[in-house]
Structure formats: structure tokens, C-alpha cells
Amino acid sequence: MSEEDFQHGGDRFPPTRRSVIEAARSIDAEERDRALAALCAAYWRPVYKYVRWRWNRPADVAQDLTQGFFMELLERELLEKFDAKKSRLRTYLRVCVDSFVSNEDKAGRRQKRGGNVLHVALDFAAAEEELGATAMDPALIPSPESLEEFFEKEWVRSLFALAVEDLRELCVARERERTFHLFEAYDLEGSEKISYQQLSNEYGISVTDLTNALAWARREFRRIALERLRELCGSQEEFQREARAAFGWDTK
């Protein structure tokens, strides 16, 4: 069997977007902006929550620091200094956040930032609500490993939320809104899982149709999430490691 035989079926997995790390080093300003926007979209919530929780900053200060951090990332070309062989992008960014907040403290600065530099809508009010919904006891997270864990969990939440949003848009574009509602009802909502039978009765469809719809939605969700993740990684090895971490394949 030749290698080509293994490509069969794989063509349904679309080519990935360019990594933000590569794009950030591009000479094309538009490309660099796009990279920062992609990075910001995936990481601003974890960064904001991390600053709020780890650095115990009030909401307005954390908002400024979050925006300031991404601007500094752009101005000081920090992404160009990232080496995928040495660490994960996620860990690198968290260390950069720590360093940034610490430096801001030392300099005694507090700038009001904002404007359209980031090209990403930062819904801090929603992030604040989420922080309330995931109330944490600081005493439970005392070690640096736990800080990493907290940041990772928020990063996964952000990544999956973006993928769900993309999936919703895909369903709308393909006129499969009902599929998204089923996916939402079964996989995203409710504390207790309802049965396929109950859900199919509720929507007036057969269990087989429901099964197929959910299988399609999950497959697309997985594809989109991995595609977004690949964009946020600097190498194939990092992508594989991060995919295992994001999907919990290391712990199952």
C-alpha cells in the first residue's frame, strides 16, 4: 500500500490555516494583524481571567492589562522570540503575562488602553460573568503547576467556545440550524444528560436522524477545534501535544 492510499478520506480534513507564529513573522502587515487577531481571540479570556485571579487585579485594571499585554506582544514582537522547540506557546504566553504585569507594577504605570488596535471585540463583562460562574478558591491552587492548569483549562474553554461559535456559523451557512440546536441541547446544555429518545421526541425526529446529526456536529466541532488549535501552534509536535492536552487524551 502506498502512502497515497492513506490520503484517501483525509481530503475531507481541509488544509490548515497558517500558524500564527509564522504569520507573526511575516513581512506582510495584514498577515501579522490577522495572526495577532487569531491569537487574541483565543487567548484574551484566559489572560484576563488569569490576571484577575493570579494577580488579584480589579476588573478595570485587569481589562487594561489584558489589552496592554496584547499590544505589547505586537510592539515588542514577542511572538517572534517564541521558540516552539523550547516550550508550548500557551506556557510562553503565560510567562509573558506574568512578566508584563510585574513590569507594569514596577513602573507604576496604569495606562488606559483601548482603541481599535486589536481588531477583536473583547467582551469583558461576559468574561467577568464567566469568572463568577467558575468561582475558585485560591487556597486550592497554590502551586505553579496549578496555575498552569488553571490557565490551560481557561484556554481550552476559550478554544472550544470559539470552535462552537464557528460550528454555529457553519450550520447557519449550510442551513443546518436544527443540527446545531440538537448539538447545543445534548452536548452543551443542562446539568443532566437527556436521552436520545427524549431529545428526538422533543424535536419530532427519529433517533437515527438525531444520531446522524450529532455525529456530524461532533465531527465538525472536532475538525474546527483542531484546525484552530493547529493555527495556534508553532510546530506539528506542539500541535499533537496540545491536541492531547485540549481533548484530554493524556488523562483518559
Binding site: 500500500m1 502512502e3 492510499d5 492513506f6 490520503q7 484517501h8 478520506g9 483525509g10 475531507r12 480534513f13 467582551d123 461576559a126 460573568e129 464567566e130 460562574a133 467558575t134 481550552v156 474553554r157 472550544f160 467556545a161 470559539l162 462552537v164 461559535e165 445534548y186 452536548d187 452543551l188 446544555e189 446539568s191 444528560k193 450529532l214 455525529a215 461532533r218 465531527r219 466541532f221 472536532r222 475538525r223 477545534a225 483542531l226 506539528q236 509536535e237 500541535f239 499533537q240 501535544r241 491536541a243 492531547r244 481533548f247 484530554g248 487524551w249 483518559k252
Partner: protein, 345 residues
């Protein structure tokens, strides 16, 4: 953007893990186990109407080390047709971009569970000899297993013994199919081991480095394998693992128990274990066949090559081997002596 609760994250993870079998002849039945590279599911082959085991990689893509390893594992298995090695049926890529292969669905127990119901040493040794047969066959075809341990041996309902999980196999020379050899990313498979903090039973888990590269299992890994000395690995590395496996079958531990109170081994069996797990490869058995021969000789009550016997050892072995006749003669002589004593009264 929708906020996802912790529960929703878990559900999304669970849902995303399921392989997409659309367009294949297989229907998913249940999740069986997770390995270093991916998950094994029970599936039904729609065409042949039989149950198969479907091993699927976690991440999509046909390039990269993991995909290469899974494809290579399938090809190695395909090249090793032996009753003691699980046969592979099919290999390909799923609609979601993940590489998979299907193999015989082995119903039975893992060796460590199975031997809980096998009390006698001879029976355990016979199982061990069947494992040796499969490994010797692979060696003859130029393939090292490199991760032999109880969790990778299955015993079927009719006592058939199957060596599983050839994901770490190393191809020594060109006796297997070219495809399997070409796909061998030898330069990237091994890395020097890093300290790991694997919780739980270390004998259950293969060591995985930060790069997701499986290397072997503590307790069953030869010293040269633990050092990452890839260049110098040969069949004696598997012989080390077989020695640890033999010790596990006999004492419940792959290594010599440091704590007192462990089960004492017969000197000959202890010598076989010690010889096969010698730190220096040159001091081990040169081949699996020779190791198996020693175990067979022990089963037949003969002297084993690994142990130089004293006169008492020889007498003890002679007694064990001919116990029935010795006891018969002793009973006869006792009876004769008793009759003579009675007649002379």
C-alpha cells in the same frame, strides 16, 4: 460567545473522541481501551459480519510520528503471520483524518488477570513458552517487540496466547515487507528517557516522553533500552523483557522482590530469570529459543543451562523427576522389609 461549563467541556471532549466511521465498512460498538497513541474500539465489520478491534489515532493527519508509528505497527503485524500474534485486517484513514487499523478482536483476559486463575507453575510456564514462540518468530523475521509486558499479552478462552501492541516494534533487518521497513521512523522513535511522574501501577503504563514517544515499560525495559541506546538494541533486549515476564508469572513481580516474604523461586527458574535479565546483554541468552529450551528442560525435569547444579541439586532434581518410581520402589522395599521382619519373628 457561549460560555462552556466544565461539564460541557467534558461532553465535547467525549463526543470529539469518537471516531467517524462514515464511509467505512465498520460500525462502532464500544470503547475497549486507550493506548499510548490512541483508542481501541470494538467495531462490527459490516461486510464480513464479524467483530473487530479498531485502533484509531487521536490526532488527524497521515504525516507525523504518531501516524507513521500506527501505520508501521499495522504493517509490522501484517508481516508477522503467526498464531501467537494478533492478525491485522485493514488500515486506512477515517473521514475525520485519523489513521486507523483493524485487527482481530481478541476476547479473553490480559495475562496479569488470567494468571490469577492459573495456580500451577507448570501451567504458567507453558503459557510462557507460547509467548516465547511468538517472540522468537518475530525475531526470526527481524522484528523486536520492545514493549513486552503482561498488559500486552492476551489469553483467549481456549488458552490461545496472543502478543499484542507492536507500536514500539523495531525492524532489525529487511526480512519483513519493505513497506513496514520504509515507514519506520527509527531516528525519531527513541529519545533519552526523562523522569516521569506516572501515577498508579508503573507496570501498566508505557513511558511516554513529553513528545508523546513511547519507549517501554519500567520493570520490563532492558537497561540499554532505558538509556535510549537505540543503536545497540537487539533481540537480547526482548529477552530481558521475557525474563521479567517470566519472573512476573512466577512471583507476581517483574523484578527481584527486595522485601522479605516474597515467593521463593526454584534455583533453576531463578537462574533462568537472572540470566535473561542480566544487565549486560552479552550475559543474557543469545536467543529466545535458547531461553525457551531452558524452560522446557526445567518442565521436563532436566538440568537447565543457566544453573550449575551441586550434587544435592542433582539429587533433588532426580527425585522430583522420578518421584513416582522412587516412591514406588521405596514402598516396595518397605513392604519387603516389613514382610521379612514379620517372618523372622
Amino acid at each position: 460567545m457561549k460560555f462552556l461549563s466544565d461539564k460541557a467541556l467534558e461532553r465535547l471532549r467525549d463526543g470529539a473522541e469518537m471516531p467517524d466511521l462514515a464511509g467505512t465498512r465498520y460500525r462502532l460498538l464500544e470503547r475497549v481501551a486507550r493506548g499510548g497513541m490512541g483508542v481501541v474500539y470494538a467495531a462490527e465489520d459490516g461486510k464480513l459480519r464479524r467483530r473487530v478491534a479498531l485502533k484509531v489515532l487521536d490526532v488527524p493527519g497521515t504525516d507525523g510520528d504518531l501516524a507513521n508509528r500506527l501505520i508501521r505497527e499495522a504493517r509490522v503485524l501484517a508481516a508477522l503471520e503467526h498464531p501467537g500474534i494478533v492478525p491485522v485486517h485493514d488500515v486506512g484513514t477515517l473521514a475525520d483524518g485519523r489513521v486507523f487499523y483493524t485487527m482481530k478482536f481478541v476476547e479473553g483476559n490480559r495475562l496479569d488477570k488470567y494468571i490469577e486463575s492459573v495456580a500451577s507453575f507448570p501451567d504458567r510456564l507453558r503459557i510462557f513458552l507460547r509467548i516465547c514462540d511468538a517472540v522468537a518468530f518475530a525475531h526470526a523475521r527481524g522484528v523486536l517487540h520492545r514493549d513486552l509486558k503482561p498488559a500486552n499479552i492476551m489469553v483467549g478462552p481456549f488458552g490461545e496466547v496472543l502478543v499484542m501492541d507492536w507500536g514500539l516494534a523495531k525492524i532489525l533487518r529487511g526480512e519483513v515487507s519493505n513497506g513496514a521497513r520504509d515507514a519506520d521512523p527509527e531516528a525519531t522513535v527513541f529519545e533519552k528517557p526523562k523522569p516521569t511522574s506516572i501515577a498508579g501501577d508503573a507496570t501498566e503504563l508505557s513511558v511516554v516522553t513529553g513528545h508523546g514517544t513511547v519507549m517501554g515499560t519500567p520493570g520490563y525495559m532492558s537497561p540499554e533500552q532505558a538509556r535510549g541506546d537505540v543503536e545497540h538494541l537487539d533481540t537480547r533486549s526482548d529477552i530481558y523483557a521475557l525474563g521479567a515476564l517470566l519472573r512476573f508469572l512466577l512471583t507476581g513481580q517483574p523484578e527481584i522482590a527486595s522485601a522479605p516474604g516474597g515467593r521463593r523461586l526454584d534455583k533453576s527458574l531463578a537462574a533462568i530469570c537472572a540470566k535473561s535479565t542480566a544487565a549486560a546483554p552479552a550475559e543474557r541468552y543469545p536467543s529466545v529459543q535458547e531461553m525457551a529450551l531452558d524452560v522446557s528442560r526445567y518442565l521436563d525435569g532436566l538440568a537447565v543451562g543457566a544453573h550449575r547444579e551441586s550434587i544435592f541439586d542433582k539429587a533433588g532434581r532426580f527425585y522430583r523427576r522420578y518421584r513416582f518410581f522412587i516412591l514406588l520402589i521405596a514402598a516396595y522395599l518397605t513392604m519387603r522389609a516389613a514382610i521379612l521382619l514379620f517372618m523372622h519373628r
